[in-house]
C-alpha cells in the first residue's frame, strides 16, 4: 500500500519532521531526488531500549529539497523471507537504477546464521512496490550496502568497513571473478569476497561506505571513529576497487556527541549536496536520528571542502510558508534555541532573542507571488516588546514591524506573557525574488517560532472610467464610499427604527442628501476630514469593514455613506431595491426613502425589499447609509423585477 503524505514545507534541517530518518541515501531518478533512509523508531516493549531499532523502510521524494513527499513503507522486516522475524535490524540501505529496474539493497539479521546479510528488493518505479528476493546476496556478510555504477560499465557493491566486490549484471549476485581473501576474525578464519578498500587507511570502526565517481576520480567516503565518535572521511582512487588514498574529512564529529554519522553525496541540478544525519529530534538518545542536507564543494584538484552542519540546511523557502527562524543561518550573540516541547520534539524549536539589537537570520526566502501582503509571526514574550523583519542585514530595509502586546491595562487587563501569539503586521516594503531575512529584536526579549507572509485578499479596486454593468446576479458593484464617520456603539442591538431615523437623518456634512460626491473629494464631519472613494467591488458584496481597515483608524462603531448612479436607457417600472447589510442600513432612490433595515442585521442577499419603484429614464441617484457597532460591515444591493429576476439593463457610474 502506498501512502502519500506531503510534509509541511521545510527547507531547513532536519528535512523530515514527522519521523526519524537515519543513514540517508539520496539518489537522483527522473529529475527528482529520492531519499532512502533507514527508519529509526522508539523500541517497542521487549526490544533493547538503548539500541538501534528499525523495522522497515520508507522512501521520500522532492524536486526542490524543500518539500518532501513520504511515499510510505516499501520494505518491512517480517515480509522478507530471509530476515529473522522481529529482529528490528533493517539498517542503512541503498537504491540504484539499472537496466530498467530499481534495485533496493538493505542489510538485516538473517534467520539462518548470525551477523548481517544484505538483500535486494526490485521494483519498476523508485517508489516501489519493491519485491524482495527470497535469499540474501551470497558472499556478503556485513552491513551498509552501497552500489557504484562505474563508468567502466560494471556495478560494484561496497559494504561494512569498506569492502568492495563486483556485481553480476543481474545485480543480485557477486561476480565470479572477484578476488577472495582469508580474514581472521578473532580466532576464526573466514573467506571474504572482494577487497578491503580501507585496509591501510584511517579506518577505526569504519562503516557506511558511500562511493561515487566524479571527473575521472572514484571517491570512497565513510564514517570512522577519529577520537571518540564518528567523522565523515574520504579517500580517492582512479579505480573503483582501489587502491584508495586517504584525503581527509568531509565532516567533523557532531558537537553534541551524537556517536554515528552516515551520509550520501549527490549532484542535483548542478549543485553537490551532502546528506547526513544527526540526533536533532532525540537529544538524549543518539540512536534516533534525522536526515539533514548541506551543500558540498570540490576544490580544483578534486578534493572535497569540509562541510559544517547547519540548522538552515539547503533549499529556497517560500515566504508564503512558515519560515522557521529557529533553524537560522546566522544569529547574534546570546540567541538561544530550545525545543517547543521537550516531550514531543517533532514540534520543533523556538529561538529566543535576549535583548534589543539581537537578531537571527534565515537565508534564501522567495517572495515571488506576493504583492499586497502582510506578515504573521508566531512569537512569545514576557514584556510588551517589538520586532522588525529586515532584508539582507540587521540594518537592512524594513519589511514589517510587529508589536507584541502581552500585557494590557485598563478595565479588562490581560496578561498573555509566556503565551505564543500570532502577531500580524502589514508589509511596508515588499522584497523581490529570493532574499535573506533578519528577525531583529527591538525591545525586551522576543521568542520566535516562525514567520509567514500572506497576500491580502483583494476586496475592491479603484473604479474604472468605463460604465459598469450589474454582475451576473444583478448586484451593483460600483460605489462612491465615504471614509467612515465615527459613531461609537458597543453593540448592534440598539439599532431600532427610531434610533436609525435619528442617526441617518442627521446632517453630518453639507449636501449629504443632495449633492453627488466626486472621487477624491473631502468633507468635514466634526473633527474628521473624510474622503470619498470610487470603488469597484471584487465581490457581490462591498466589504465596508476592509475599506475602513485600509482608510481609517476606526473599523467598529462607524457609519458609512455610499452613493452610486444608475443610468437607464428607458424608464423601468415596478422594480424593487433588494438589500442585505451588516449591520443596519437605510437607502434612498432619487432623494426618496426606499428602504430601512433595522436591528442587528447580518448581510443576507435580498434580506429587505423596497416597495415597487420606478427607475426613471436617464440618471438615478441611489444613496445608502450603513451603521455598525462590532462585526464585519458590508452590504449587497440589486434591483429585482416583478418576476423576481435581477434588473440588468442598467449601467452604473460614479460620475
Amino acid at each position: 500500500m502506498l501512502l502519500l503524505s506531503a510534509i509541511g514545507a521545510t527547507a531547513q534541517n532536519p528535512i523530515i519532521r514527522d519521523q526519524f530518518t537515519a543513514d540517508p541515501t539520496a539518489r537522483v531518478f527522473n529529475n527528482k531526488v529520492y531519499l532512502y533512509p533507514s527508519h529509526d523508531i522508539n523500541p517497542p516493549v521487549g526490544q533493547r531500549q538503548d539500541w538501534f531499532c528499525m523495522e522497515d523502510y520508507h522512501v521520500f521524494s522532492s524536486e526542490d529539497l524543500t518539500e518532501w513527499t513520504d511515499h510510505g513503507m516499501i520494505v518491512t522486516q517480517n515480509k522478507v523471507p530471509w530476515v529473522r522475524p522481529d529482529s528490528y535490524s533493517m539498517w542503512a540501505p541503498d537504491c540504484v537504477y539499472r537496466n530498467g529496474k530499481y534495485y533496493f539493497y538493505f542489510p538485516s539479521a538473517p534467520a539462518q546464521g548470525g551477523g548481517f546479510a544484505v538483500g535486494v528488493a526490485i521494483a519498476d518505479n523508485p517508489e516501489g512496490p519493491f519485491i524482495p528476493e527470497p535469499e540474501p546476496i551470497k558472499g556478503i556478510n556485513g552491513i551498509d550496502p552501497c552500489v557504484l555504477l562505474a563508468s567502466d560499465g560494471n556495478a560494484y557493491i561496497f559494504w561494512g568497513a569498506g569492502r568492495c566486490a563486483k556485481l553480476k549484471d543481474n545485480m543480485k549476485e557477486l561476480a565470479d571473478d572477484n578476488p577472495k581473501e582469508i580474514v581472521k576474525w578473532g580466532n576464526r578464519e573466514m573467506e571474504m569476497v572482494g577487497v578491503n578498500c580501507l585496509k591501510d587507511l584511517p579506518n577505526r570502526q569504519a562503516e557506511g561506505p558511500f562511493a561515487f565517481e566524479y571527473n575521472g576520480n572514484y571517491y570512497l567516503t565513510y564514517p570512522y571513529v577519529r577520537e571518540n565518535t564518528e567523522v565523515l572521511a574520504y579517500a580517492m582512487s582512479k579505480n573503483p576497487m582501489g587502491p584508495y588514498e586517504y584525503k581527509g574529512l568531509i565532516m567533523a564529529e557532531h558537537a553534541n556527541g551524537c556517536w554515528t554519522n552516515h551520509h550520501s553525496i549527490i549532484n542535483y541540478k548542478g549543485q553537490w549536496y551532502l546528506f547526513y544525519h544527526h540526533n536533532a529530534y532525540s537529544p538524549k538518545d543518539d540512536k534516533r536520528r534525522s536526515a539533514q542536507i548541506e551543500k558540498l564543494y570540490f576544490n580544483a584538484d578534486g578534493t572535497i571542502q569540509e562541510v559544517k552542519p547547519t540548522l538552515r540546511g539547503v533549499g529556497i523557502s517560500k515566504a508564503t510558508k512558515r519560515i522557521e527562524f529557529d533553524r537560522y543561518s546566522k544569529a547574534s550573540k546570546g540567541v538561544e534555541i530550545a525545543y517547543l516541547d521537550t516531550l514531543n520534539t517533532f514540534e520543533g524549536w523556538e529561538a529566543a532573542l535576549p535583548s534589543k539589537g539581537s537578531w537571527i537570520s534565515y537565508n534564501d526566502v522567495d517572495f515571488t507571488g506576493l504583492d499586497n501582503s502582510y506578515m504573521i509571526a508566531n512569537v512569545m514574550a514576557h514584556e510588551n516588546t517589538a520586532f522588525t523583519i529586515r532584508e539582507g542585514s540587521p540594518k537592512g530595509k524594513v519589511i514589517a514591524q510587529g508589536k507584541i502586546v502581552c500585557k494590557t491595562e485598563g478595565a479588562r487587563p490581560r496578561d498573555y506573557s509566556g503565551r505564543w501569539m500570532n502577531v500580524t503586521a502589514p508589509v511596508q516594503y515588499m522584497p523581490k525574488g529570493v532574499v535573506d531575512l533578519y528577525f531583529c529584536c527591538d525591545g525586551a526579549a522576543v521568542h520566535v517560532d516562525w514567520v509567514q507572509f500572506k497576500n491580502r485578499e483583494k476586496y475592491y479596486s479603484p473604479a474604472t472610467a468605463t460604465a459598469a454593468k450589474p454582475d451576473a446576479d444583478g448586484f451593483i458593484r460600483r460605489w462612491l464610499v465615504l471614509e467612515p464617520i465615527n459613531k461609537p456603539n458597543p453593540t448592534n442591538t440598539v439599532f431600532t427604527d427610531s434610533y436609525l431615523r435619528d442617526a441617518f437623518g442627521k446632517e453630518y456634512f453639507k449636501g449629504q442628501f443632495t449633492t453627488l460626491p466626486v472621487d477624491g473629494q473631502k468633507v468635514k464631519v466634526e473633527k474628521q476630514t473624510l474622503k470619498w472613494h470610487a470603488l469597484d467591488s471584487e465581490k457581490y458584496n462591498l466589504k465596508l469593514f476592509r475599506f475602513a481597515e485600509e482608510k481609517s483608524e476606526q473599523v467598529y462603531g462607524v457609519l458609512f455613506w455610499a452613493v452610486t448612479i444608475i443610468d437607464c436607457e428607458e424608464e423601468i417600472k415596478d422594480v424593487r431595491l433588494a438589500v442585505g447589510s451588516n449591520s443596519a442600513s437605510m437607502w434612498w432612490l432619487n432623494g426618496e426613502e426606499a428602504l430601512l433595515l433595522s436591528g442587528d442585521r447580518r448581510m443576507v442577499k435580498d434580506d429587505g425589499m423596497s416597495p415597487r419603484l420606478t427607475l426613471k429614464k436617464g440618471r438615478n441617484i441611489l444613496r445608502g447609509a450603513v451603521i455598525n457597532g462590532p462585526g464585519m460591515s458590508d452590504f449587497c444591493v440589486r434591483f429585482i423585477d416583478e418576476k423576481g429576476q435581477p434588473v440588468k439593463n442598467i449601467s452604473i457610474n460614479h460620475k
Partner: protein
C-alpha cells in the same frame, strides 16, 4: 368543586410547564453534540468543562475538557471520542486569530482510570486578518464515505470546511479550507438520506433575554456545498431556512447538534441564550427534530394538557372500554321545524353524568370513534420525581378529572387503574417522531426487567390497543395528541 379542580389543575399545569430546557443545573453555552459514554450523556461547552446526565433529562456540571476556548464538538469514532474546539491565538482587543484543535479520549467519564486526553493538535488557524475566525468547530463523519469533515468560523468572515483524518484527528495533508457560508457561527454539519446539511447560528449572541440567536439550515448534495436554502439562496450569500427560533419562554437557540435515538426518533440539542424560567440564564435545550420535505425543523417540547390520543392507524381515539352513554337532545322532524325557535348550544357530556356507569376497578383500554366524551379525554402531566429521558420527563396519563391512569400490564397489554400510584408501569415516555407523530412508551412493563425502551402503545387492530415493539415504518406505533 369542579371549578376548584379546574383552578388547581391550571396551577399545576403552569408549574409543570415551567421549564422548556433540561432540568438540574443545565447551564452551558455552545453545547457540543450530545455524546453517550457508558450509559451517560455528555456535552461540552464554551470555556472548560461541560455537563453530564444519567438519563438525558437532568443535567449537572462535571464533564472535563481542558483547553478552554469556544464552542467544542465531540464525536465517537470507533472506540474513541474525538473532541474538537477553538482557541484564540492570543489576539488582544477582539482579535480574530483562532486555532482549531483536536484531541482524543478513550472515555468521557472523568472518574474512569482510562480518562486521559491526548495532546491537542492544531488542525486549522486564522491569522486575524483574513476573513475567518478559527473557532466554533463542528464535526461530521460522512457515513457514505467514512471521511471526516469539520466546519468552523464566526461572523468574522466566512465559515470554512476542512477535512480531517478519522484515524488521527489531524488535518488531511494538502487539504485546503473551503468557504461555505457567510455571516453565521457555531455551525454543524449533518448527513441524511443523500443530503448534507449545514446548520448555522444567526442573530445576536450573548445578550441575555434580548438575544435573537436562531439556527438556520442549507443543504447540498455534496459535503463541499454549495449549501442552498429553501428559496435557492446560497448560505455563502447569507441564505438559510429557520430550524429553531425563540418561543415558549426561551430565546436565542444556538449551536445545533443532532442525535438519533431510534429510527424516526431524533432530537436536536442547543443552548438557549436565555431561559426566562431560569432567571434568563443560558441553558441546555433539547427538542424533537422533525423532517419536513427533507428539511430539519425543531418540534415543540410536549406540552401538558388534556388531549384526544388519536391513532395514526385509523384516526380513532384511545378510550376506556365503558358503555357509550347516549346524550339527550330535543329534536324536531325536519318538516315540522320552526324556523324562528332560538338556537340553544348543546353542552358537552360531563364526567359526572357518566362516571357512575363505569366500573370501579381496572377498566381496559380500547380505541374508538372520537366523540369528545369524558372516557376519551386524557390529561397528561409530568411526574418530575420520576426522572426522564432526552426529550422529556415521564408523564402520567389519566382520564380528565380523575386519577384513573393508563398502565401497562404484565401481559404486555394496556389497561387503566382507578388510582395513579406512581408505579413505573403507569409512567409514560412521550417522544415526537421525525414525521410529527408521537410514540408513547411505558417506563416499565410488569414482569419485564429494567427500563422499557422497546414496547410502545400500539394499534393491534383499529379498535384494540396493546403494547408492541416500536416500528417507525408502521402507523400502528404512532399517535397524535389533539386538543379539540
Amino acid at each position: 368543586m369542579k371549578n376548584l379542580r379546574n383552578i388547581l389543575s391550571a396551577a399545576t399545569m403552569l408549574m409543570a410547564l415551567s421549564s422548556q430546557a433540561q432540568v438540574g443545573q443545565p447551564y452551558i453555552h455552545d453545547p457540543s453534540t450530545l455524546a453517550e459514554c457508558d450509559g451517560k450523556y455528555y456535552t461540552f461547552g464554551t470555556g472548560s468543562g461541560g455537563l453530564i446526565s444519567e438519563d438525558g433529562w437532568s443535567w449537572k456540571g462535571g464533564a472535563v475538557r481542558p483547553g478552554g476556548g469556544a464552542a467544542p464538538d465531540v464525536l465517537k469514532i470507533g472506540d474513541r471520542y474525538l473532541v474538537i474546539y477553538g482557541a484564540t491565538g492570543g489576539g488582544l482587543g477582539g482579535g480574530h486569530n483562532g486555532r482549531i484543535l483536536t484531541m482524543w479520549n478513550e472515555t468521557l467519564d472523568p472518574n474512569s482510570p482510562k480518562f486521559k486526553y491526548t495532546d491537542a493538535i492544531e488542525v486549522a488557524a486564522s491569522d486575524g486578518l483574513e476573513d475567518n475566525d478559527a473557532i466554533d468547530p463542528g464535526l461530521l463523519l460522512d457515513p457514505t464515505t467514512g471521511r471526516l469533515w469539520a466546519s468552523y468560523g464566526t461572523y468574522f468572515g466566512n465559515i470554512r470546511l476542512i477535512e480531517l483524518d478519522p484515524k488521527t484527528g489531524k488535518r488531511v495533508a494538502g487539504n485546503e479550507p473551503l468557504d461555505i457560508a457567510i455571516d453565521c457561527e457555531a455551525t454543524d454539519l449533518i448527513y441524511r438520506d443523500g443530503w448534507y446539511y449545514l446548520l448555522g447560528t444567526h442573530g445576536t449572541c450573548c445578550d441575555g433575554v434580548n438575544s435573537t440567536y436562531n439556527i438556520v439550515v442549507g443543504r447540498s448534495r455534496q459535503v463541499t456545498g454549495p449549501y442552498i436554502d429553501n428559496v435557492g439562496r446560497d448560505m455563502f450569500h447569507g441564505g438559510g431556512k429557520m430550524v429553531i427560533a425563540a418561543g415558549d419562554r426561551v430565546c436565542g437557540p444556538g449551536h445545533f447538534g443532532r442525535t438519533v435515538i431510534d429510527e424516526g426518533v431524533e432530537i436536536m440539542s442547543c443552548h438557549y441564550e436565555a431561559d426566562f424560567e431560569q432567571g434568563g440564564r443560558s441553558v441546555l435545550g433539547i427538542r424533537p427534530l422533525l423532517w419536513k420535505n427533507d428539511w430539519p425543523v425543531a418540534g415543540d417540547r410536549f406540552k401538558e394538557g388534556t388531549y384526544e390520543i388519536e391513532s395514526e392507524r385509523r384516526g380513532y381515539a384511545l378510550e376506556l372500554a365503558v358503555d357509550f352513554v347516549r346524550m339527550k337532545q330535543e329534536r324536531q322532524a325536519w318538516f315540522r321545524q320552526e324556523q324562528n325557535t332560538p338556537i340553544k348550544p348543546v353542552p358537552n357530556q360531563t364526567l359526572e353524568e357518566v362516571i357512575d356507569t363505569w366500573p370501579k376497578g381496572d377498566i381496559p383500554a380500547r380505541i374508538g370513534d372520537y366523540m369528545f366524551r369524558p372516557h376519551q379525554k386524557w390529561t397528561i402531566t409530568a411526574v418530575p420525581e420520576a426522572g426522564g429521558y432526552l426529550s422529556n420527563p415521564y408523564f402520567k396519563i389519566v382520564i380528565e378529572g380523575t386519577n384513573r391512569a393508563l398502565a401497562a400490564t404484565d401481559k404486555t397489554e394496556v389497561t387503566t387503574v382507578p388510582e395513579f400510584t406512581g408505579a413505573d408501569e403507569q409512567l409514560w415516555r412521550i417522544e415526537q417522531l421525525t414525521d410529527g407523530t408521537f410514540r408513547i412508551m411505558p417506563k416499565a412493563i410488569p414482569g419485564r426487567k429494567g427500563i422499557n425502551t422497546k414496547f410502545v402503545l400500539y394499534s393491534a387492530g383499529d379498535s384494540t390497543p396493546t403494547l408492541a415493539e416500536y416500528d417507525f415504518n408502521s402507523d400502528n406505533s404512532k399517535w397524535n395528541f389533539r386538543n379539540h
